[in-house]
């Protein structure tokens, strides 16, 4: 993976000093809170309900084992012993003291990490495919480009105070695992007919209050022009994006108002001026960065392993785990292992210091010392020998990270919600937990098969509810917490935005709502259909009719009146 050189170290070190002085000036009241707010946000520090939260950047989800150990150290020394994996492949800590935050950044810098631009109205951490470099369906490894974008976007002087936050995702495989269609900019690394590498450029996707799928504004952008083209997009947005209403300030609103064609025309006009200028990428620079992403020293191994096959045949629990949590690898004899951070009873994405240390050791022993964070809030060991899978499974199981539920009902994407976040309208973690408890039966989950259940505690959609096959959104109605349900959303190559099925529900009703949605699917599905396929074939009506056919108890015993929708 990428390693800092003297320049990266220098810039991060100077950032720590700058931020330390900003904190000092805030504490000395030389900076007002209003003046300090955007500064701390651009360093990932949010004021939450109970304390500050610090979000640390994990560039395109890639971590080394020393970095994972540093998270464990931070969890113990500065937090309450755990961290939370986010849907932008980052990690955040929820119980941080402002006074200690510069020290945390200084410690992070020792392992080539920072919290730069993990919040605020600037270019955020670029996200990518968690299986980059190992996926069997990969066309081009997107990570060198993601690193090039990381460096370009870090402290870009012109784009630090955009109308709103700005998120870029990049994918280089047949299957889009980076949700590129719901990003401000989505990049697909592709090859043209001549075999040259470039990008398909999507702009204006997003979730939040106005979910929109991104529009392609350029089918093929030769890779050398990546940075000048991004600069052109950002310059058009910085000048013309709305600033009068924060809910209409994302680039998607501008693209929609202008039309994708007109927006593309303005970008191309802007680009003409800087195209082929000094910011044009060179083969040397691409090579410098790509060398960090060359394959690790794989052994030449047979595709199968006798002992492995025997365990798989004998041990149903192991077989279940293989089926759900182990993914195909492009190198014979290896597999990618997903560690489920979605154990029932634990908030989705929460991981303890002990688990982090364990994962770091496991990565050193079995996966070339590398770990990845997925945007579904799980972890990946990307390069595990098939012959070692059984041992890895036993070790992982003992740490509570082997729930065989990847892609299943209880692999819930969930934001921190009202338990922590001051933006939230409603709690999201207890909803996830209640659903996980109700459907904890693995046989049932395996029967339901692939399904994405996403929960956001407010319209900002950190829990990606719009693209959940079932999406749950916390809303505020007269000061109490309610949940709006949508179905039919999807991410990946056939991204779609879910449709709301009707009036919202109370927290206590939610497990039954999910049960009813699933029972319609079970009754109506054809043999090969996943939940999303059945919804797409039938539309939402049969689901809606059944969910609302009879009252659902709220859980309080106040007679019939308690049965509300």
């Amino acid at each position: 993976m990428y390693r800092y050189d003297q320049y990266d170290h220098l810039i991060v070190k100077e950032r720590v000093a700058q931020y330390r002085d900003q904190v000092r000036r805030r504490l000395a009241d030389e900076l007002t809170e209003e003046e300090f707010l955007p500064l701390r946000l651009q360093n990932g520090l949010y004021m939450q309900r109970h304390a500050y939260m610090l979000r640390i950047a994990v560039p395109y989800g890639m971590l080394s084992s020393p970095q994972v150990r540093m998270f464990a150290h931070i969890a113990r020394k500065y937090d309450r012993g755990y961290g939370h994996l986010t849907t932008r492949q980052n990690i955040q800590f929820n119980w941080i003291n402002l006074e200690q935050s510069p020290d945390i950044l200084a410690e992070l810098a020792t392992v080539e990490m920072h919290a730069i631009q993990t919040s605020g109205n600037c270019i955020r951490n670029t996200t990518s495919d968690e299986l980059a470099g190992v996926a069997a369906d990969e066309i081009i490894d997107p990570r060198p480009y993601a690193e090039i974008i990381r460096e370009w976007s870090t402290f870009h002087p012109e784009f630090a105070f955009l109308p709103r936050k700005f998120k870029i995702a990049i994918s280089g495989a047949e299957q889009d695992r980076a949700a590129t269609a719901v990003h401000d900019i989505g990049l697909h690394v592709v090859k043209n007919a001549e075999g040259e590498v470039g990008f398909r450029v999507l702009v204006g996707g997003g979730m939040g209050r106005t979910p929109i799928i991104g529009s392609v504004i350029r089918e093929f952008l030769p890779w050398q022009h990546a940075l000048t083209y991004l600069e052109a997009i950002l310059r058009v947005y910085n000048q013309h994006g709305r600033r009068d209403n924060k809910y209409k300030a994302r680039i998607k609103i501008l693209v929609k108002a202008l039309s994708a064609e007109e927006f593309a025309r303005q970008v191309e006009a802007e680009w003409l001026d800087i195209k082929d200028g000094p910011a044009t990428l060179t083969a040397e620079e691409l090579q410098r960065i790509a060398q960090y992403f060359t394959p690790p020293p794989y052994e030449t191994l047979p595709a199968g392993d006798a002992a492995f096959e025997a365990h798989k045949a004998d041990n149903k629990a192991f077989a279940n785990w293989l089926k759900r949590n182990v993914k195909a690898h492009k190198v014979s004899g290896y597999a990618a292992v997903i560690l489920s951070v979605k154990k029932t009873g634990v908030p989705p994405g929460d991981i303890t210091a002990a688990q982090l240390d364990f994962v770091a050791d496991l990565a050193d022993q079995h996966s070339f010392g590398e770990v990845r964070v997925t945007h579904e809030q799980n972890l990946v060991l990307a390069d595990v020998k098939i012959s070692e899978l059984f041992a890895v499974w036993q070790a992982v199981k003992a740490q509570g990270l082997a729930t065989p539920n990847i892609g299943l009902l209880t692999d819930i994407i969930c934001c921190p919600g009202g338990d922590f976040c001051s933006l939230a309208n409603a709690k999201s973690i207890p909803i996830a937990q209640a659903i996980a408890e109700k459907f904890d039966n693995l046989d049932f989950q395996h029967d339901i098969g692939d399904i994405e259940l996403n929960i956001s505690g407010c319209i900002n959609a950190c829990g990606h509810h719009h693209v959940g096959n079932i999406g749950i959104l916390g809303v505020d109605k007269d000061g109490s917490e309610w949940y709006q349900v949508s179905i039919g959303g999807a991410q990946g190559n056939s991204t779609s935005i879910g449709k709301i099925i009707g009036p919202s529900f109370s927290a206590q009703q939610m497990p039954v709502v999910i049960e009813r949605l699933l029972s319609v699917y079970v009754q109506q599905r054809t043999e090969e259909e996943l939940f999303i396929d059945t919804v797409q074939r039938l539309g939402i009506t049969p689901f809606k009719e059944f969910v609302y056919a009879s009252p659902i108890p709220t859980g309080y015993t106040h007679g019939e009146d308690a049965c509300v929708y």
Binding site: Y4, Q6, Y7, E35, P38, F155, A160, L281, R288, Y292
Partner: protein, 180 residues
């Protein structure tokens, strides 16, 4: 009409210097074509420049300021007539002024004084100088000598802008430190 002496001092070319320009801002009820412009060195709003161009041309020195919703292009035919151009930051979080400055410098080739006015604070100065500002009317309630430190927060940068035409990857030989 309100004539605000921004401060008696500004930062210019990385030094704190005395300054006697004042910024003319239209109050409610003022109109661009009738507002009276005091004698001396005045930075007028672009709307006043347009409305009173003929008489302003008679002055020995005149400055103009652009609001954050303006495009740099509006002054392209008059660049040589201004002693200075200012860009207003109504709030430091309004980042449009950065693109205005960049365009004035790179696209229009403006090489005179480019001054940031309005909500101009220490922690944004580094970015402002990178896109082309060389003068900063730091908000009057702030310590200008303290603000000066903001210009030197970083000694290296990855990407191009007005101040650095060559990206880091073309400027230096980059090499990984010894892998541990």
């Amino acid at each position: 009409m309100e004539r605000t002496p921004v401060s008696t001092n500004i930062i210019k070319n990385r030094n704190v210097v005395a300054d006697d320009w004042s910024v003319l801002r239209l109050n409610e009820g003022d109109s661009a074509d009738s507002v009276s412009i005091p004698a001396g060195r005045v930075i007028v709003p672009f709307s006043v420049w347009t409305a009173q161009r003929a008489q302003l041309l008679e002055r020995a020195e005149i400055g103009v300021w652009l609001s954050s919703d303006a495009q740099a292009d509006v002054v392209k035919d008059d660049l040589a007539r201004f002693s200075l151009i200012a860009v207003d930051f109504p709030k430091f979080t309004d980042g449009r002024g950065y693109s205005i400055a960049y365009n004035l410098r790179t696209r229009l080739g403006y090489n005179g004084e480019l001054r940031a006015i309005g909500d101009v604070l220490r922690d944004q100065l580094f970015y402002m100088q990178r896109v082309g500002f060389n003068a900063f009317a730091v908000r009057a309630d702030k310590d200008i000598n303290d603000a000066l430190k903001g210009l030197t927060d970083f000694s290296e940068k990855y990407q191009t802008s007005w101040d650095e035409k060559t990206p880091l990857f073309r400027r230096v030989q980059r090499q990984a430190l010894a892998q541990d």
